[in-house]
């Protein structure tokens, strides 16, 4: 942050005799600036320049005329977006699914990390950790296939068990509530283990003396977890929460796309699948860009709001 203004302030050639404090500071910081440059270039080239493409949300984008040559359309695309009944459900679903994923998915990595932390046998802990990381590296195509096979009615293991218990199969994938449960559950199964890593790192930083002292004072395991472990990792939890807020408007494409089916489309059509269907398949680039922009703006507002709340508790990011 400090580097760029310093760099741009020197662009007019200053006379060498004049040695302003700015210039001296620049000299001191040259190694840092050099180290920072690739990062700056990366962000400008791959993050900021592509944002220019957002203008097509306000245009009638046409392949032939390109991003700049297409005609301006004003807010027409947004108007179209918000008058289409499908859009409203899509946005509602996106919000619902992502908030639920956060509420359900957020505590699991923390609980897992604390549980790992309490395991004393090193080999057991290591192998358990590896087992729980593993699903993270499977693609959603694989996990989706597994989930659908598991819950299908003719060949699924779950339904075979269910049939033995109740006498008939249950359409888990075609009921909105059970579909949502399966959706959230599969997300937790795949990502909780990997998400625990960051909390494990935070746990490693807690001073062991605190536990010893608590032990001497007669605190049990749960008291220790409550009064030492959790407060010790609170900053990380808050950080993850703020980062998570930025993603509230986005539901990852792969998972929903692999698991959704027409019967539950009332709750499973989300912004990312909408953009895929309308934009990439239907070539409606302007309207889907408008949708993407809407998603990003809401995300930005949420991040800022979350940070504002965190600031009250002296945990803010910036």
């Amino acid at each position: 942050m400090k580097a760029t203004p310093a760099a741009s302030s020197t662009s007019p050639p200053a006379t060498p005799a004049q040695s302003s404090p700015n210039r001296r500071r620049l000299k001191q910081n040259i190694p840092w600036l050099i180290m920072f440059a690739p990062v700056a270039v990366y962000f400008i080239l791959f993050k900021y320049v592509p944002m220019g493409g957002l203008v097509i949300a306000f245009k009638d984008y046409h392949f032939l005329h390109g991003v700049w040559g297409s005609e301006w359309a004003g807010l027409k695309n947004f108007q179209m977006l918000f008058t289409d009944p499908a859009t409203i459900t899509t946005i509602r679903n996106t919000l619902m699914i992502s908030v639920l994923s956060m509420v359900v998915g957020f505590p699991f990595p923390i609980v897992l990390a604390i549980m790992f932390n309490e395991v004393r046998k090193l080999w057991f802990r290591k192998s358990l950790q590896t087992l729980l990381y593993l699903p993270h590296f499977l693609s959603w195509v694989i996990v989706g296939g597994m989930v659908i096979t598991l819950f299908s009615q003719e060949t699924g293991a779950v339904n075979a068990l269910w049939e033995r218990l109740t006498g008939s199969t249950y359409p888990f994938l075609y009921n909105e509530a059970s579909w949502l449960t399966i959706f959230l559950g599969s997300g937790v199964w795949k990502e909780a283990g990997f998400g625990a890593i960051i909390y494990l790192a935070a746990l490693a930083n807690i001073d062991p003396h605190l536990y010893e002292a608590a032990n001497l004072d007669g605190a049990g395991k749960f008291k220790q977890i409550w009064h030492i472990t959790l407060p010790g990792i609170t900053p990380v939890i808050v950080l993850m929460l703020i980062l998570g807020m930025g993603r509230v408007m986005e539901v990852g494409f792969d998972q929903v796309y692999m698991l959704q089916n027409p019967v539950v489309s009332n709750i499973s059509e989300v912004i990312s699948t909408y953009i895929y269907r309308m934009g990439l398949q239907g070539a409606q680039f302007s309207i889907t860009t408008a949708m993407g922009m809407f998603e990003a703006v809401i995300g930005l507002i949420l991040v800022i709001a979350a940070n504002g709340v965190a600031r009250r508790f002296n945990q803010s990011l910036w």
Binding site: S9, V49, M51, S152, M278, I287
Partner: protein, 563 residues
């Protein structure tokens, strides 16, 4: 550091970033414009060169990639057949492979990045129409003026002109003639009918009873309850729709039919009847309860070729399925049956579009003349011969004046993947060596001969105006609705389809009648009335000039019928 300093720094930072963004944007703008300017420029040297003999043009052409090229043969865009085209054709062609089932996404991305191929090979008319609407393809009338083979073909089959002409009266596509043949067919296990002593079903009601018997009465006689009466996934489900005269399937959504006054009406009754029938099958447990996850019909196909499924809808061209079934169950006998009669009449399933547009020319193509040369080369019967049978001595020998394939695994592998390079070829109705209707003891296996009979049955059952195809025209010849309505149509039909699906598997909780009510509401909310009106207007204005179902029946060929 004071706040003031901070603020000025922040401002500077912002200015810096904006400057970078604008600079980068401008520079990329400059790049965007560049290719546009030299285009005419590059044309001039080409034209000049054309006067000198033997200057080969160079073009890019798309080719579908289905991932079926054997590793030792290379890739879809670089293999023995693409090399053959380059060695023997009039122009240098570099092929651009496009994933078959994601071709449109890929084309869209390529158009957006200005790297789309010169000749776009795409079966989907809706997509080509979209390209036309966006002015991304060029008219080919003038090119055809200078053409040889394609021009001759156009004179022989005027229908080609009709299907490739767009609203502005110019031709924008290259098409081929394949004749009116059945595409989808309804298969039934004749040996099961015999074993249970039941007749071929004539009505939808009878079909239901047969499916029930197939499910419950152990038709394969193995003592286990392991058979399905019928399938509902993919083509099987589409056939149930067509049975009820409903052209609202997972692929084709054109539920408009002319009424007695010749007006096009959106008919919900047929949709309802088809959905109710599916629901009955589902509730009675006669179909695979997971049919929804079987979106490409692979599970149903497995069931059928393993002898576990009695009534199956598939593409008539799927001879390998028949072959495998016979291998697994030598006693199995298959019959193609006419679609049973419903309260709306008796219909035929999807027919092959007899005149099919397959290619369009990118408006940014630098050398259209070379594209025409390539098209002429690819519709040449001599080229077709090579692609049908490979190269003499290498892939086939000539016996009785007809090529006979050399039957080794090597040859089989080398010939296995070329179909997508053959999109331009019309069917040669006079050729007496090729295609199923010319099979005889000397050039076909016994199984192929058996299947030839089945195909004749299919033609007799389906290519007849007594049992018409219910669609106003092939989905490939449907007009393209304006863009804003198109979005509504896409979303509206998706909502309707989802609601119906929910009713089919929803048990007693959600009846089809309720669903139709909800579907109508969803359709109207999505501007449905306006869309229906648009199609009605189009039909009123164009029913004489458009390529409709009647025109298709005119192209029926005698060779497909039993001699």
């Amino acid at each position: 550091m004071t706040t003031k300093q901070w603020k000025s720094r922040l401002a500077l930072l912002l200015v810096g970033i904006m400057a970078c963004v604008i600079f980068a944007a401008c520079s990329s703008n400059g790049q965007n414009n560049e290719p546009a300017t030299p285009t005419p420029g590059t044309n001039t040297p080409d034209n000049a060169a054309a006067e000198e003999p033997k200057e080969r043009g160079s073009i890019t052409v798309s080719v579908y990639d289905r991932g079926t090229v054997p590793a030792e043969e290379g890739t879809m865009d670089n293999n023995r057949w693409t090399k053959w085209i380059n060695e023997n054709g009039p122009v240098d062609v570099s092929f651009v492979s496009v994933p078959r089932w994601e071709s449109q996404q890929k084309f869209n991305v390529m158009f957006a990045s200005k790297s789309a191929p010169d000749l776009i090979m795409e079966y989907d008319t809706a997509y080509r129409n979209q390209l036309y609407n966006q002015q991304l393809i060029m008219p080919v009338d003038e090119l055809i003026e200078n053409s040889t083979n394609y021009k001759a073909m156009l004179e022989e089959y005027p229908a080609l002109r009709k299907v490739t002409t767009k609203e502005d009266g110019k031709m924008y596509e290259f098409a081929r003639v394949i004749g009116l043949q059945p595409n989808h067919a309804l298969f039934i296990r004749a040996d099961w009918l015999e074993a249970l002593n039941i007749e071929v079903p004539q009505t939808t009601e009878e079909l239901f009873e047969v499916a029930k018997a197939f499910k419950e009465q152990d038709p394969d006689g193995n003592g286990a309850d392991d058979t399905y009466g019928m399938a509902l996934s993919y083509i099987s489900g589409m056939i149930v729709d067509y049975m009820h005269g409903s052209v609202f399937t997972m692929f084709e959504k054109q539920p408009w039919y002319p009424d007695a006054n010749g007006e096009l009406i959106h008919d919900w009754d047929r949709v309802q009847a088809a959905a109710e029938y599916k629901k009955r099958l589902f509730d009675a447990g006669l179909v695979d309860r997971d049919f929804l996850t079987d979106s490409k019909g692979e599970k149903a196909k497995q069931d059928f070729i393993n002898g576990k499924l009695g009534i199956w809808g598939t593409s008539i061209g799927d001879f390998p399925a028949y072959e495998t079934l016979k291998q697994n169950n030598p006693d199995a006998r298959i019959q193609v049956i006419a679609l049973p009669e419903s309260e709306f009449g008796q219909f035929s399933p999807v027919l092959y579009n007899p005149v099919q547009s397959v290619a369009a020319v990118n408006v940014m193509a630098k050398n259209p003349q070379a594209i025409m040369e390539y098209v002429d080369f690819m519709v040449d019967p001599e080229t077709k011969k090579v692609f049908d049978y490979g190269i003499e001595g290498e892939h086939h020998t000539v016996e009785n004046g007809c090529p006979k394939l050399i039957e080794t695994d090597e040859v089989k592998a080398q010939l296995s993947y070329k179909a997508d390079l053959m999109m331009m070829f019309s069917t040669d109705f006079t050729n007496e060596c090729a295609d199923w209707w010319n099979y005889n003891e000397s050039n076909a296996t016994p199984l192929q001969l058996e299947y030839k009979d089945i195909r004749y049955d299919a033609v007799e059952a389906y290519v007849s105006q007594d049992r018409p195809n219910p669609a106003i025209t092939s989905s490939e010849h449907m007009p393209l609705i304006p863009e804003d309505l198109q979005i509504n149509q896409q979303n509206g039909f998706k909502a309707v389809e989802d609601i119906l699906t929910r009713a089919i598997i929803g048990g007693t909780g959600y009846t089809v009648e309720q669903a139709i009510g909800d579907a109508k509401a969803a359709w109207n909310k999505s501007n449905g009335e306006k869309i229906d009106q648009w199609y009605a207007d189009w039909y009123r204005d164009n029913k004489d000039s458009a390529f409709l179902m009647n025109d298709m029946y005119d192209l029926a060929q005698d060779v497909f019928f039993r001699p």
